[in-house]
Symmetry: C2
Subunit: 236 residues, 2 copies
Amino acid sequence: MSGNAETFGLSSAVLLGDLCLVWADRMLNESGLDHVVMHRLNPVYDEMRVELMAGQYLDVLEQALATSSVERSLRIARYKSGKYTVERPLHFGAVIAGADAPTLDLFSRYGLPLGEAFQLRDDILGVFGDPSETGKPAGDDLREGKRTVLIAHAVNKASAAQSIEIRKHLGDPHLSPDGVRVLREIIQETGALSEVERIIEMSLAESLAAISSADLDVDAVAVLKDLAIAATRRVL
Amino acid sequence: MSGNAETFGLSSAVLLGDLCLVWADRMLNESGLDHVVMHRLNPVYDEMRVELMAGQYLDVLEQALATSSVERSLRIARYKSGKYTVERPLHFGAVIAGADAPTLDLFSRYGLPLGEAFQLRDDILGVFGDPSETGKPAGDDLREGKRTVLIAHAVNKASAAQSIEIRKHLGDPHLSPDGVRVLREIIQETGALSEVERIIEMSLAESLAAISSADLDVDAVAVLKDLAIAATRRVL
């Protein structure tokens, strides 16, 4: 007849997440935005949330399958973060301001590569980040066994000996600092780290090129350039 | 390095629930309702969803605490079903139709007792329902150990010998048909069943009285009376 603490905690967490989704809606509904603006904005908001769930599901699926496809990891980075972190929030603001279709298109060309680069930087920080700067335990992603682009590259390029070490340590919830060090070395030695740094630089360049080619006001260009640098060259 | 089936299933289920919440929003946003109507409707919709989460949380909490307070179980019935099943959907339609404050108030006086009665009927069917009619396994609520008003009454009125049987069987996921029979007998012998039937009749009468005292069109009265009877005297 006694209650089950784990079931209670889990059910409460799910309900709290649902409540936050509803509260976010309510904040938007009560923001004081004009009805006409809300009518334009709602499809963008709904689409963003559907994309987020889809991206999160792909992430969960990839972790369960424990595959190491670079292509699939990049697709997750695009859905989970590319759209949600940069492109859609820019669309959100642009639609409120009444921007035209070419401006929305520009924000996609600027935002999608930048969002992917942001996620790739996140993946690097999840393995190499300094806990005193990121606020997350060192090697957290390694302990969770996250199937990031960085990990996919390392797995694909690993020697037989390195593969054994990866299988041994990746996704071990009790991974020791020594285990973290071993995996970090493999990620560097296989060239995965420099490959991901290279993709980040390419994406950043693509994003900045979209801005340069557009007919934007000088202040807007400065803000968008700063945002691009901040999102990709950060340490936290 | 292999994936965990349980974690995957759980994470996917949570995401699917989130997706359904967003899809429900999108259906409403794409329903073609006028912007002005939507602006009136959104606060009702948001409030209904917050109440639902709160009621569901109370339900989960009560199950974890495994208490047997009749008053608390009735409060859950009010939040979880009273508002969500009858009152708020009526408000929803009324607000779309542009109803005035007295009409919304009437729907509360009609809907709240009816919603509670609906939930109490549900609790009875969860224990005594015929699986071929309800579509749910016999004694399902007993197996889950749900803290319903029916159970709260039985626990409070049980003799020492009956209390031992309740502690033994209630919430046992492997409860046998014999165990179900024992608990059903206790619920009848303690008078819990007739007490809950009595509360249902009182709530139904309160609900019908609200309708009778109102200045409604004859067709509306007929529909609301039929709904009240259907919600409380059903077998499925």
